[in-house]
């Protein structure tokens, strides 16, 4: 890219590079401007969401927790505001992940690495840690001087304060994480009294360690070497993707500029290196698009400040597509093409995923019935010549109240139900709030019923149904009038005909 834009690459020394690149420490300089402000706001919002969410309450009645977002692993329930997910419905989370991935693809193909530059936790926490560093040790030059200085009291004090604050932030980060997995107020008091489960302390310790090391020590190396996303994103850019770019056609040839000198015959870049000193990943944006660039746009702010000062138009470094410099060279007008094949496909995929998930959530039943037929024995011949089959009914009541259901069977005449060790009416089953119940059900059919035409090869298809219970007011409704709440088709087997 740099070659295409006309910048000659610096000559490489004809020596084999070492296999291990030692890290060159980066001291990003403070910068102010539009994109810096956007980043502060995004940081506030994302950190706010992360720290505050577990403390939001959401009333679900007495039998369920009142935490708005709770991933209750011991009881195998995920609560996300009005959504309550049971283990067998984990695909809703899959849907959420697919949706997030597609949104990331769409945004990336439109505006490049905005996720990396603004919202990624690695960027947000690194930004926060750099802010702390600057607060304690001063800006770029002071920090560089401090690092070179011998270990005297001032240096020791400043360094320990910096690392101390980082550790506090790290522990708070790890601490906030565990609140998503248990009732936050209870857990907080348990944590402070040392009564919390060991898993909580281990999770806090592990996340504190990763936050401290990734945000404080490793920083841009995480993005450059550890994260797979920068490598994947190359496949999502095209000539119409907005990327933070240096306008080489306007900037070159670069060089120092004295006040009052003419701008004729030279580029707007005064080679002040403001864009380099503010860069959190330590690259020179003027070398063209690079793998390391997280596109935080801080160099845009830095360059604009300089352009204002030397009285040249802003935007020497700016969000630009790859098609734009080419169009300028050919003297054409370019219009951003937001609607194009890939963005339309990503957009439609997002709408489709959202529609499927909304449909799934809206038609989600608060009752599940799963029937299994006994296979050993397949059937039992009774003394009167009739046949009995056994079934296992698993009933899941997701409602937050106890409910009674009436068991009914369609497809058999004159059947008789029985349940082992069961007291009370044989066809009434009651399931507790937010609970699952397994019952055994025997269905006996007298000899006369066996000759019905519905039997094919000794097997009939029947339907086991859960009907709504009669309410007090209307009395016994009779089977046909009770709405069917859940049902499953299953076989009824008889001995082979002799």
């Amino acid at each position: 890219m740099a070659g295409a834009a006309g910048t000659p690459l610096p000559p490489q020394p004809n020596k084999a590079a070492p296999l291990y690149q030692k890290r060159i420490k980066i001291y990003p300089k403070r910068v102010s401007g539009l994109f810096r402000n956007v980043k502060w706001v995004v940081m506030l919002i994302t950190l706010g969401i992360y720290y505050i969410t577990p403390w939001l309450r959401w009333d679900r009645g007495p039998s369920a927790p009142d935490q708005a977002v709770l991933l209750d692993l011991p009881n195998r329930r995920f609560y996300i505001f009005f959504i309550e997910i049971w283990p067998q419905e984990i695909y809703y989370l899959t849907g959420l992940l697919i949706l997030s991935a597609l949104a990331l693809f769409l945004v990336t193909s439109l505006f490049g690495r905005v996720w990396c530059g603004y919202a990624c936790p690695q960027t947000v926490w690194t930004d926060l840690f750099i802010w702390v560093e600057r607060l304690v040790q001063g800006d770029r030059n002071k920090r560089m001087r401090l690092d070179k200085a011998p270990w005297r009291l001032e240096k020791i004090a400043k360094k320990s304060i910096t690392h101390g604050i980082w550790l506090v932030i790290s522990v708070a980060t790890g601490g906030a994480w565990v609140f998503y997995f248990a009732d936050a107020p209870t857990l907080l008091s348990d944590l402070l009294q040392g009564d919390a489960p060991m898993a909580a302390y281990i999770a806090i310790a592990a996340l504190s360690f990763t936050t401290y090391s990734l945000g404080g020590l490793m920083r841009e190396q995480v993005c450059t070497y550890m994260c797979p996303w920068p490598r994947i994103q190359g496949a999502m850019f095209d000539a119409d993707t907005y990327l933070v770019s240096y306008k080489a056609d306007r900037g070159e040839p670069r060089g120092p500029h004295k006040q009052g000198e003419s701008w004729e015959g030279r580029g707007d870049c005064i080679d002040c290196k403001a864009c380099v000193t503010v860069c959190p990943v330590g690259i020179d944006i003027r070398d063209g698009p690079q793998l390391e660039c997280i596109q935080c746009a801080l160099c845009v702010d830095a360059c604009n400040e300089i352009m204002d000062r030397v009285d040249r138009p802003r935007g020497l470094i700016d969000y630009e597509t790859l098609a734009m410099p080419q169009a300028r060279a050919e003297g054409r007008e370019t219009r951003p093409k937001l609607l194009r094949g890939r963005t339309i496909i990503y957009g439609l995929s997002i709408l489709l995923t959202m529609a499927i998930m909304a449909y799934g959530l809206l038609t989600r039943s608060d009752l599940d019935l799963s029937v299994q037929q006994d296979r050993n024995p397949l059937y039992v011949l009774l003394s009167d010549g009739g046949v009995r089959n056994g079934y296992q009914l698993k009933i899941i009541n997701k409602a937050h109240e106890e409910r009674n259901f009436i068991i009914a069977i369609k497809g058999l005449d004159g059947y008789e139900l029985s349940r082992p060790n069961h007291q009370g009416p044989v066809d009434v089953v009651s399931v507790g709030p937010d609970a699952q119940k397994t019952i055994r059900l025997y269905v006996a059919l007298p000899k006369e019923g066996l000759n019905a035409s519905r039997f094919r090869d000794g097997e009939a298809q029947i339907r086991i149904m859960l009907r709504q219970e009669d309410d007090q007011a209307s009395g016994d409704l009779g089977d046909s009038a009770r709405p069917v709440l859940a049902s499953q088709n299953i076989g009824f087997r008889t001995p082979p005909q002799r």
């Binding site: 084999a16 006994d374 296979r375 050993n376 024995p377 039992v380 011949l381 009774l382 003394s383 009167d384 010549g385 009995r388 056994g390 029985s418 082992p420 060790n421 055994r440 025997y442 000899k447």
Partner: protein
């Protein structure tokens, strides 16, 4: 392939002297972290030999170095099993002390009994009665509603405790289906007639005259145990001959064989072989298989 070690001109590092079609191997030192971990694992291995059981030793017989930690997986398993047994004992004690009716009315004891009963059934009963209690020829199906010796909880419990025709148990359930031809009580024709009479309960008799003759014999001899109506008698373990369930088979040849040579199936007595709590669990489990009858009446 191998020649004298040489310096690689690009990196300035010695080569091992190995050369494959111009590809040489650099003699780089091992990474420090790797080397130290290697040394550490050697130390840990030696400590492990001292700490844990490790080496086989011959001292007249084979044994092994026990290690100073006194660690033994077998002892752990034994202790673990002991703990499980102790945990169960609380409930087993209750099951032993309480009457069967009380056990099935206690939801927790019922759950334990059903699980324990199913496991004990698989271990002890399935060999004859089948893993689904479906039975085989001569071994009754325990799912159905026909019971030779009664299908209430207490009937099943008694059968389990004392067995059937189990000579070692003097309380065992005992009755005799003689071999009426073998013992020369009936002639071949008389046996055949009785079989015809039995088949007539199932509309399978072909010879009306034989049925009439057989009825006379049946009322004289068979009804003593099977009853005048042939519906059997559970006190004597005599099966109902009019229902659809046959222990050995309901075809003419099999019934003839039964009458001619007799039947004497045996079930072991389990009292003394199994814990009383386990026998009760088995009774509860078998009773729940679908054919269990209510007490009293």
């Amino acid at each position: 392939m191998s020649k004298a070690p040489d310096k690689d001109e690009l990196t300035g590092i010695d080569t091992t002297g190995h050369d494959w079609d111009g590809i040489t191997e650099l003699d780089n030192p091992l990474p420090r972290w790797w080397l130290y971990m290697f040394y550490a694992s050697i130390v840990i291995a030696i400590l492990g030999w001292i700490w844990y059981p490790s080496w086989p030793i011959w001292v007249g017989e084979w044994t092994y170095s026990k290690g100073i930690a006194g660690f033994s997986k077998r002892a752990e398993v034994t202790a673990e099993l002991q703990r499980v047994a102790e945990g169960r004992e609380v409930y087993y004690q209750q099951i032993r002390e309480q009457p069967l009716e009380a056990v099935i009315n206690d939801p927790q004891l019922l759950r334990i009994s059903m699980a324990g009963g199913a496991a004990a059934f698989g271990d002890n009963c399935a060999a004859c009665h089948g893993s689904g209690a479906q039975g085989f020829v001569g071994f009754p199906n325990l799912n159905d509603d026909a019971w030779l010796w009664g299908g209430t909880l207490s009937d099943i419990y008694q059968t389990l405790q004392h067995g059937i025709r189990w000579e070692a148990d003097y309380e065992t359930r005992l009755s005799v289906m003689q071999g009426y031809l073998a013992d020369q009580i009936l002639t071949r024709n008389e046996v055949s007639d009785v079989v015809d009479y039995v088949l007539s309960f199932h509309d399978q008799a072909e010879d009306e005259a034989a049925v009439a003759r057989g009825q006379v014999t049946f009322e004289q001899i068979c009804s003593a145990c099977h009853g005048a109506d042939a519906k059997g008698m559970k006190e004597l373990g005599a099966p109902n001959l009019t229902d659809a369930i046959w222990l050995y088979g309901g075809d003419r040849a099999t019934i003839y064989e039964t009458v001619a040579n007799g039947r004497a199936g045996v079930m072991p007595a389990w009292a003394g072989r199994l814990d009383d709590a386990t026998i009760k669990q088995l009774a509860i489990y078998v009773h729940s298989l679908g054919g269990g009858q209510d007490e009293a009446n």
